[in-house]
């Protein structure tokens, strides 16, 4: 029982962080970034440059890889999505155009990584020793990843709630026209939210690559599907929804692995469908 409570929480925490970035991007910019998992993969690869070439601790390497990935996110937003946002006449048109652009981005990132790094898998396996929690053994890297995921989510929540920047971001989500009238630069908020979304995803990539040994240029979509499931369950654009959705999916995932591993995804989607019949906007959707 203890292993289910803690094991599910570990997976849930990591899933939450993966979903958080996607939800932020969608909430602020209405861009459903289906290339989200590719940024996770990119984060793992950038970390690997420091880990395998300089033996740098993957967690410490975030100090270097974080800003690099954040800048990549800002540049992508400026080069691709700024124009799409400016020419779209409605939210629906923006969603449709950006979705197509994201699909393109997915293949571009995949192929660029394939060309630069080759098809061989990489990993940043770290902290593989075990620790005891309430009499159960767990891998230290999973525990550290889960704690970091929760800590980052809380910091992010506090930034959103307690700072002017957070207030501005929330204002853009809830009332973009009013926010503009108050002098908030929508364009800056869009860039920032996209960059932050990419950064959060890339950090989760670093954490995932400390645990898993098969990081390759094509792992992105599986994480995008998980993130999409979580934000739909939690409610599109809702921070608390992302957190709660991540933990719910984490527990379902862990329990399914115990009961019938082969149909894990089927169980998750069945749950999602049944849940959405009762609550179409998700847990915290408006």
């Amino acid at each position: 029982m203890i292993d289910v409570i803690i094991g599910g929480a570990i997976i849930g925490a990591i899933f939450s962080l993966i979903a958080l970035g996607l939800n932020l991007q969608y909430g602020v910019t209405r861009i459903l970034n289906v290339a989200h998992g590719e940024f996770l993969m990119l984060g793992a690869y950038v970390t690997n440059i420091f880990f395998s070439n300089y033996g740098m601790n993957p967690l410490l390497s975030l100090i270097l890889s974080g800003p690099i990935i954040f800048i990549i996110g800002i540049l992508i937003q400026a080069l691709i999505f700024r124009r799409i946002i400016s020419i779209s006449r409605s939210a629906e048109e923006l969603e449709f155009r950006s979705l197509l652009a994201c699909f393109g981005l997915l293949f571009i990132i995949q192929n660029m990584v394939r060309i630069i790094f080759g098809p061989m898998p990489i990993s940043n396996v770290y902290l593989t020793e075990s620790v005891f929690i309430l009499g159960e053994r767990f891998q230290l890297n999973m525990i550290v990843s889960a704690i970091m995921s929760v800590a980052l989510s809380i910091i992010f929540y506090l930034v959103l709630r307690l700072t002017k920047l957070g207030l501005a971001l929330r204002a853009v989500v809830e009332e973009p026209t009013g926010a503009q009238l108050l002098g908030i630069s929508i364009q800056k908020m869009h860039s920032l939210s996209f960059g932050l979304g990419v950064l959060l995803c890339a950090i989760s990539g670093t954490l995932v690559s400390m645990i898993y040994t098969n990081i390759n240029p094509y792992i992105g979509p599986q994480y995008t599907f998980i993130a999409l499931t979580i934000i739909v369950l939690g409610g599109l654009g809702s921070f608390i929804g992302s957190m709660a959705g991540g933990f719910i999916i984490g527990y379902i995932y862990y329990l399914s692995l115990k009961i019938e591993p082969l149909i894990v995804m089927a169980i998750i989607y069945l749950f999602l469908v049944l849940f959405l019949i009762g609550k179409p906007k998700g847990l915290f959707g408006r």
């Binding site: 094991g7 192929n111 394939r114 098809p119 891998q139 040994t213 098969n214 094509y218």
Partner: protein
């Protein structure tokens, strides 16, 4: 109707005889010799996985395509007897993007449009299974490196896949060898009464786990856990709990790269059965000591079941080959590396003896025994190839290459069982 006279009959007979004799003289003495089309190279086609999730495994297993071409081109190319000289080999390569449909289209393009002289096989059991009917139709002999299917082997034995040749073993052969090994260990070393099998839900996983399960049960070994898992599994901890609760002596994982996560998590959970068997990719030194993050000490006692025929690299000739492999590819070979190379050598040796007539090549591959880097090598359609320096099961024993531990007559080292405790 008026009957012909005797004289007329003689004249007709003479005319016929003269015509036949003239024809024979023309054919054998006067006709210009058959002119071969000019040819300055031998083109070999291959459609395999260069992008997509399986690209890494394909690159590892098919490194021998490039290696053997490089080796032959270094000595001037492939000797083609009908031209009486060596011709350089060119590889025409397409990316099937890990899609069977794309692979089939590309192989047909290689045959019809590019008119390649020979074909190399695609990567993976399911892909080879799909391409065999096509190569059969166009009569291209195909040496499949990464293939092990009981269903396809049965078709080979029935003569439905006459042009297909397999290097690796079949699931039933692997199952029997594992059961033999466990019986041997049970009688002479330590009891093996209960085995847990978990498998990746694809053709390889289903066929191998099924065959191993059947052989173990037939020998009276209990299999309390026989469970599949999803390809993108994120955590083996629940399955490890199940295996621990079932009190199994040995665990067999029929899967690929996720085997590394399983071993890491067994170590973290301090779950230490007497033996752990892991499927393809955990036998590749370049992976296990690279991205998988293991040290040789971590893996002592971990076995590989699909190395049929696994090669003992302690043989002096193969030891030199292994060093050359490290120099050229960057890593030491995995158990089946030399066998893969030898399988391709057979194809090239058949061409050097019989020319580019694909039916003759096929007949040679069926009937002849070839001298290769692993010694005498012979294909057996519907069964694994026979080679001189072969074993069936390998084990990590602390070195940078695996040791052959089974069968005893081919072993390069004694069996380590039970495996030692995980290093701290």
């Amino acid at each position: 109707m008026k009957a012909i006279t005797k004289m007329q009959a003689i004249i007709i007979a003479v005319i016929v005889i003269v015509a036949v004799v003239a024809g024979v003289i023309y054919l054998f003495f006067l006709a210009p010799p058959k002119v071969l089309p000019p040819k300055d190279k031998v083109v070999i086609g291959v459609a395999h996985t260069l992008t997509g999730p399986a690209a890494a495994a394909c690159r590892l297993h098919h490194a021998y395509y490039y290696m053997i071409i490089e080796d032959y081109n270094a000595k001037g190319g492939l000797y083609v007897p009908e031209y009486g000289k060596r011709l350089p080999i060119e590889l025409k390569e397409y990316d099937d993007k890990n899609s069977i449909d794309t692979m089939l289209t590309l192989v047909e393009k290689l045959i019809i449009e590019d008119k390649v002289d020979l074909l190399f096989a695609p990567w993976g059991t399911a892909f080879n299974f799909a391409v065999f009917p096509l190569t059969e139709r166009y009569r291209y002999p195909l040496v499949a490196l990464t293939f092990g299917s009981e269903i396809a082997a049965e078709k080979m034995r029935r003569g439905e896949f006459k042009y297909a040749f397999s290097v690796l073993g079949l699931p039933s052969e692997t199952g029997k060898e594992i059961a033999d090994l466990f019986e041997y260990i049970d009688k002479r070393m330590t009891p093996i009464k209960r085995v847990g099998i978990i498998y990746h839900s694809d053709q390889h996983g289903v066929e191998y786990s099924g065959a191993i399960f059947s052989h173990l049960v037939m020998r009276g070994i209990e299999v309390p856990v026989h469970q599949s898992y999803p390809p993108d599994i994120a955590d083996f901890t629940p399955l490890i709990s199940t295996l621990r609760a079932a009190n199994v002596d040995v665990v067999i994982l029929c899967g690929y790269m996720e085997g590394a996560l399983f071993v890491h998590q067994c170590k973290a959970q301090n779950f230490n059965p007497k033996l752990i068997f892991i499927g393809p990719t955990m036998e590749v030194p370049g992976l296990v000591f690279g991205p998988f993050g293991f040290t040789p000490k971590d893996l002592i006692g971990v076995c590989y079941y699909d190395g049929w025929p696994a090669t003992a690299y302690k043989d002096p000739k193969l030891k030199a080959w292994a060093e050359d492999h490290k120099r050229r590819i960057g890593d030491y070979p995995f158990p089946a590396s030399a066998t893969f190379y030898a399988g391709l050598e057979c194809l090239f040796k058949a061409v050097e003896k019989h020319g580019l007539d694909r039916d003759k090549i096929r007949d040679a591959l069926v009937t002849e025994t070839f001298d290769t880097i692993v010694g005498k090598f012979k294909f057996r359609q519907g069964y694994s190839a026979q080679c001189e320096l072969a074993g069936t099961i390998t084990q990590w024993q602390g070195g940078t290459m695996m040791e052959v531990i089974w069968p005893p007559e081919a072993a390069s080292a004694s069996i380590i069982c039970p495996k030692p405790a995980w290093p701290s």
